[in-house]
């Protein structure tokens, strides 16, 4: 089921209302990695076939490299 990366077909109106299932905090959309990142929970939720998988079981724990640099975060 592995597919080459392609532009995600996620409805932007859907991104507007999605939050982290654990913290109910905001998510950052990483288009290249096809992930939705919850900084607060330290989790990256994968997007497969354009479908966000908002399950804690399936999420990847973030490491330091995933954090946004301070100057970008402001």
């Amino acid at each position: 089921m592995t597919e080459p990366p392609r532009p995600a077909a996620i409805d932007p109106r859907l991104l507007e209302i999605l939050v982290c299932p654990l913290t109910k905090g905001p998510l950052r959309y990483d288009r290249d990695a096809q992930e939705l990142i919850s900084e607060q929970a330290g989790l990256a939720f994968p997007i497969r076939d354009g479908i966000p998988i908002m399950l804690v079981d399936e999420a990847r724990p973030l490491d330091e490299a995933d954090r946004i640099p301070d100057e970008v975060r402001r």
Binding site: A9, I10, D11, R13, L14, I17, L18, V19, C20, P21, L22, K24, R48, D49, G50, I51, P52, I53, M54, L55, V56, D57, E58
Partner: protein
Amino acid sequence: MSVPRIFDRRRVRQRRDRSAALAEPANFLHQEVAARVAERLLEVRRRHERVLDLGARECALRAVLPAESADMVVACDLSHAWLARSGGTARVVADEELLPFAPASFDAVVARMSLHWVNDLPGALAQLVGLLRPDGLLLAAFPGGETLHELRAALLQAELDIRGGGSPRISPVVDLRDAAALLQRVGLALPVADLDRITVSYADPLRLLSDLQGMGESGGLVAHGGPLRRDVLARALELYRRDHSDTDGRVRATFDIIFATGWRPHESQPRPRPRGSAQVGLGEALGRPPTASGQ
């Protein structure tokens, strides 16, 4: 955090994923419920901006709702495999017990055949209410009442006959009265719960078991007492045929689907006035002449 764990959520998801991978998953019951839910949703003469379809499977609700009734239907299911069977952009895999939506995101939330696998039903309903805008509609449909009572009885009796003791094989379900009380408990206005009985006729009870598997509606109990022994199964099928056959030799299976609706409170909704605030006597309102004793 003291909610008893009745269902193994991981296994519920696995079973549902597995059923989606079948060439012909058993879909008829969920399709039927989708059609009945859509009917009820359309009774509300309102254009919905955003609708959540929880337990979407193949996004069946979007398929049966007229396009002009909703701007966006978000299809949400525990199973990626089911959602991936259909197209569309607004699809999300999520757990009914931990939903990933911002508060007040939806004008209507439809929970279709998915709440019967959650461990904390009041908690899940309360989460759904929080996703509604004021005056938003919650419409939940789930098996309850006497669903699968024939199979439940046959399995239990078979285990008693052969092993001398029984363990639950069929999920516990909610009855209609409890459903109505639950709606009130989670703070919904104008709560209504009613029940549709769908009786399915099978040539053989074994077909029912394979359908339940094909629906992904099997094996989610935590305490299920281990795999079903072959001799117990054979006895259960025998009892099922003996006790629940029609005159034409086919067997019945009951699905009682509870449809529960309620609204997130809003000041525009009708509500009773406080007691004692009436300006007109009841007799007068009923068109009876005033009597001396009535004053």
